[in-house]
């Protein structure tokens, strides 16, 4: 019996191989090769391409641990990731709920499009539009002063909130989409059953809907947290002088200082930290989900 099952699954795998092959080839070429090159670089003293003499070293990793600055920046980036993820939950989950459970037909499609739109617009365009809105004398400042009777100065540009606003705007569609999918899979009759048992809407949300949409929340959080921790574009453009984060330092190593080995080492440290965080969080999240 067991043997039968085993042969069955093996032959299933064999027939699936031609289907899987392109994907694995692509993964090997597009991700694995560059990534292993980067691992290689991170243990070098110099980039071999520059023609200078090079040798293997652990110095790049040692730099991270010997300089408190990197730690501070990493913590700041982790905090940024956490805050952006929380804001995405706060904004994205109710939006997903309304999309999945309140709106129907045409209005749902229209709102869906509005949510997805930032997804389809160029990242730089998106960020510079925010710059125009947030700076002093910009759209927000002018508009508020036009309605308010007293004079106020709104200059959010080059500040921490500006970075948060830009990042939340870029990443909230992930949360909306993942939560929308799990919320939509919740049968309406579950909600009706709960209400017929005397539960208020709030009780239903707490006891049934949020627990059942946990997988979407977790997936969305993972999709947002990881890239935000390493982000550099929004911090740089919207954060200005305050926008120095772990991600911008890595970017500097690659495009400004041309210290690729250090940049690569810092990247892998970030990857390791993120993986450790996800691993530590996963039992908690799995229980919640």
């Amino acid at each position: 019996m067991a043997g039968q099952v085993a042969t069955g699954s093996r032959s299933g795998l064999r027939s699936a191989l031609p289907l899987l092959l392109p994907a694995y080839l692509w993964l090997t070429v597009a991700i694995f090769l560059p990534l292993s090159a980067m691992v290689f670089f991170s243990f070098m003293t110099e980039l071999p391409l520059s023609g200078k003499a090079w040798s293997f070293t652990l110095d790049n990793y040692a730099t991270f641990f010997s300089q408190g600055l990197y730690w501070t920046l990493l913590l700041a980036s982790l905090r940024l990731g956490l805050e952006v993820t929380l804001w995405c939950v706060v904004i994205g989950y109710p939006a997903a709920y309304v999309l999945a459970k309140v709106l129907r037909g045409r209005s749902r499609e229209a709102i869906f499009l509005l949510v997805i739109l930032p997804f389809w617009s160029n990242g730089l365009v998106r960020i510079f539009s925010w710059a125009m809105v947030l700076r002093e004398g910009g759209i927000l400042d002018t508009a508020l002063n036009a309605v308010l009777p007293f004079k106020i100065n709104i200059d959010l540009m080059y500040s921490y909130p500006a970075v948060i606003i830009g990042l939340v705007h870029s990443y909230v569609p992930y949360m909306v989409l993942t939560c929308y999918l799990t919320l939509q899979a919740i049968d309406d009759s579950l909600i009706e059953a709960g209400r017929s048992l005397g539960a208020s809407r709030l009780q239903m949300l707490k006891r049934v809907i949020i627990p059942l949409s946990m997988p979407g929340l977790v997936a969305g959080a993972a999709l947002i947290f990881v890239p935000v921790v390493g982000s550099f574009m929004e911090p740089r453009i919207l954060g200005g002088r305050t926008g120095t984060f772990y991600g911008t330092v890595i970017e500097d190593q690659f495009v400004a200082v041309f210290n690729w080995p250090l940049g690569a080492a810092l990247s892998f440290i970030l990857l390791a930290v993120v993986l450790v965080i996800l691993a530590l969080a996963s039992p908690v999240l799995r229980r919640a989900a």
Partner: protein, 354 residues
């Protein structure tokens, strides 16, 4: 516990009248079946009573108290859904206890009530399982336990046995009936299955296109259908159409059929007669003539053997009649055989055309 009164209830979706002036009195402690073809408004009616949807006009009272504008969570009803609608993120016991815990009852009280409800549906040992670890019939029992644990005033069931196979369905029918008797709760039961409606309920309401066609005890609807639709929808019926003579009808070919039951109609109007297939006797000869009996001649076109009984299809004058005969093993009629059909006027119901 309480009765439910529905009066002149109407509900439209756009131009479509899903419920059209429906009035029914659901007696306290009774078991009421709502029967009707797909799209006839059964679910819509149940949802108005539950409070998931609100009528355009008409009144709904539970235990004498008008509830038209009371939201579902305040109506104190118990509902069982066709797809069970158990919360997949909770254990069986938590599912059953849900209605008590949202009312903030003490943990010990909840545990006791949950155990009693689970014992009632004979699932006392499965409280720790998750819904996906149960069979269809077990899930249905959990859904039932969950609905009754809060001691609702009315139990509403929308095709609760629809997803079960035949054997399990019969078991659950008996079980459901036992539980209903035990707690004496007013029960409104939507079903597609006429046999289920006949065997389980004290009263049946037949809906068609949002209107209540006929309402009454099962025997009354079966023996005295008031329309061709009621006659053919609940059970099988042979329908003869013609003109009334006062005591029956005359078929277009001149044959008279005497009717001992049903409407009183003025002679000369169009009308029909309904006869149940099991009320007709079939024979190869005229036998001892009974002057009162209705008599028709025909030819057997088909015989379907079904174990305890056989169904004969008899052709006569462009019409195929259905006759069901208990298999006594004495006589079997062959296809093509000329036969005589006889039945009493008491078994013939006169129905106004329409």
């Amino acid at each position: 516990m309480a009765g439910v009164q529905v009066a002149n209830l109407s509900r439209s979706f756009g131009a479509h009248k899903a419920l059209d002036d429906v009035s029914i009195d659901f007696a306290d402690g009774g078991f009421y079946a709502l029967l009707g073809p797909s799209g006839s408004g059964k679910t819509t009616l149940l949802r108005q009573i539950a409070g998931f949807d609100f009528p355009d006009s008409g009144r709904i009272a539970i235990g004498g108290e008008g509830v038209e504008r009371v939201p579902v969570e305040k109506r104190r009803i118990g509902m069982v859904f066709q797809n069970y609608a158990l919360f997949p993120n909770m254990s069986v016991a938590d599912n059953v206890g849900f209605g008590l815990s949202v009312r903030r009852q003490a943990k010990a009280t909840i545990a006791g009530e949950v155990q009693r409800a689970l014992d009632l549906v004979q699932l006392g040992k499965l409280g720790g399982r998750r819904p996906h670890q149960l069979s269809g019939g077990q899930r249905q029992r959990v859904a039932l336990a969950r609905a009754i644990v809060t001691k609702p005033r009315v139990l509403l069931l929308d095709e609760p046995l629809g997803a079960l196979d035949k054997a399990l369905r019969v078991d659950m029918q008996i079980e459901l009936k036992r539980i209903q008797r035990e707690i004496g709760i007013t029960t409104i039961f939507v079903t597609h299955d006429q046999e289920e409606a006949l065997t389980m309920s004290d009263r049946i309401g037949i809906l068609r296109d949002g209107r209540l066609v006929q309402e009454g005890p099962p025997e009354e609807i079966y023996d005295r259908p008031k329309s061709e639709f009621a006659a053919t929808f609940l059970g099988d019926a042979n329908i003869f159409r013609g003109e009334t003579t006062g005591a029956g009808i005359r078929l277009p070919d001149g044959t008279a059929i005497a009717a001992g039951a049903g409407a009183t109609l003025a002679a000369g109007t169009k009308a029909s007669c309904a006869v149940r297939p099991e009320r007709i006797r079939i024979a190869t000869d005229s036998g001892t003539p009974d002057p009162n009996a209705n008599l028709l001649r025909g030819q057997v076109s088909k015989r379907i053997f079904a174990g305890s009984n056989s169904t004969y299809f008899v052709d006569r004058d462009g019409q195929t009649l259905k006759v069901i005969v208990q298999n006594t093993g004495v006589e079997r009629l062959a296809e093509g055989q000329e036969v005589v059909l006889r039945w009493s006027p008491e078994s013939t119901v006169l129905i106004a055309a329409g």
